[in-house]
Amino acid sequence: MIIRRKPDIASSEITPEHTYLNRRHFVKKAAAAGVLGTALGPRALQGKTTLQELHPRFSSMTSEMDEPLNSYEEITTYNNFYEFGTRKSDPAENSGAFRPRPWKVEIGGMVNKPGQYELDDLLSGITMEDRVYRLRCVEAWSMVIPWYGFPLSALINKVEPQPGAKYIEMKTIVRPEEMTHQRFPILDWPYIEGLRMDEAMHPLTILATGLYGADLPNQNGAPLRLVVPWKYGFKGVKSIQSIRFVEEMPINTWQVQNSHEYGFFANVNPNVSHPRWSQARETRLPGFRKDFDTMMFNGYTDQVQHLYAGMDLARWK
């Protein structure tokens, strides 16, 4: 995979200034340490060594508001990926046989350059970067994760959607022989998620190919997954095999499964409860207590609230 690093990360327009300053500091530190994630393959992760130990630049990295990063081990051993099982430890335990390479992505729908793209071809010329985001799960736990990836808008611009395309729909690959729990009708496979085109084009919306500067592990959605930091984690469709540009609002998987819970938008909102728990607070892992106040749009209000101007967010949840 081609992983290129920008000499500087010009993200001042999308992240608050103090974060930006922070990030510059890290980039400088990284350069000084001479350690970058590019040379590091999954093989280097064997054994108990954590990526932070291998990458000093991440050990002191924090997101805005000085929230510490979760460890590589925490991020890769505790997550939801129902294709590999419904327990949080299942994805790490059951995804060993999954082959994220070679990988093709089907681009279709209302787009000028449809087709089956080799992932490397699709990503060529797109610049990769680190993005530290909060991840707020709908289950009221959260983490801070240093993703590695690129803005979804870069890919969208590359394939040239037509004016009629109002939404983007993405699907996880279906491989029951490798994805152990696709053999059971737990969800209506394939997993489908979608975004409105302005959400998809938003500079905070990224496709991640890595974590801590190295390739995404299978359990976190290798080789390509969506990350939308102001929405609940389930919007982040993993192991993306198909991207379609459509006119109608896609029906995402969880909307089919539990229509009374969340609809299409699933923006993080402390004022709108889940039917089974309050969303006002969250457990910031690896903490024990659900005592972290959940922020509107997961703390990205300034950047994204204009997308929902005039919308009743209790209704469009």
Binding site: K88, W141, L187, P286, F288
Partner: protein, 206 residues
């Protein structure tokens, strides 16, 4: 003599198996090996153990009737009490970590969320049963005791509902619990109707 030895053996098995989840959870917690979200594991496993033990206690009478092994009745009380013990631990963990000892949060949760309403109701049904499980209470309450302790079935129903309503998508396990519970209730109902038919009752008294 054999009888006594058998009783000792099954009681030992019961105590070891009922205590081991608790011992495992506490020791794992102390060793820090409960993973990234220990509270979630503690909550899940105390609840699961409580429900399994409760269903086991409800299964005693049917198994005893079918097998004719009357000694099993001696297991019913400890099973019920262990179930109550794990359910209480489940409640305390939830109150301490999810509601951070805040009664306002707790009430809101109980009133607004049916799975929590059901879970709290199950615990409240079990409380008087646990309190009246002494020999003294059994003697004192007489016939009312067995009526009161039919509440165990209600607790079972509420417990399974609690679990069923909690689960998001993969309902295989809660469904299994529901099937077991329905089987137990069905057996009980069949037994009841048999007892109430005077003809059959006569025959039984030969």
């Amino acid at each position: 003599m054999n009888q006594k030895r058998a009783l000792f053996a099954i009681k030992t098995i019961l105590w070891v198996s009922a205590l081991s989840p608790g011992v495992y959870l506490v020791s794992s917690l102390l060793r820090g090996s409960l993973g990234v979200n220990p509270v979630e594991k503690l909550t899940l496993w105390t609840g699961m153990t409580a429900l399994v033990l409760l269903l086991c206690s409800l299964a005693i009478t049917p198994i005893r009737r079918i097998s004719g092994w009357n000694l099993l009745i001696k297991l019913r009380r400890p099973l019920g009490l262990f179930a109550f013990f794990y359910a209480s631990a489940h409640f305390v963990i939830w109150f301490a970590f999810y509601n951070i000892f805040d009664f306002g949060y707790m009430w809101a949760d109980i009133l607004e969320r049916r799975f929590i309403t059901a879970g709290m109701a199950a615990l409240f049904v079990m409380l008087p049963l646990a309190l009246t499980s002494t020999r003294w209470a059994i003697r004192k309450l007489g016939k009312r005791w067995s009526v009161l302790h039919r509440g165990a079935y209600l607790a079972g129903i509420l417990g399974v509902l609690h679990y069923f309503w909690l689960v998001k998508a993969d309902t295989r396990l809660p469904s299994l619990f529901a099937v077991v519970l329905i089987g137990l209730l069905g057996f009980r109902a069949a037994l009841q109707s048999q007892v109430l038919q005077p003809g059959k009752r006569q025959r039984g008294r030969h």
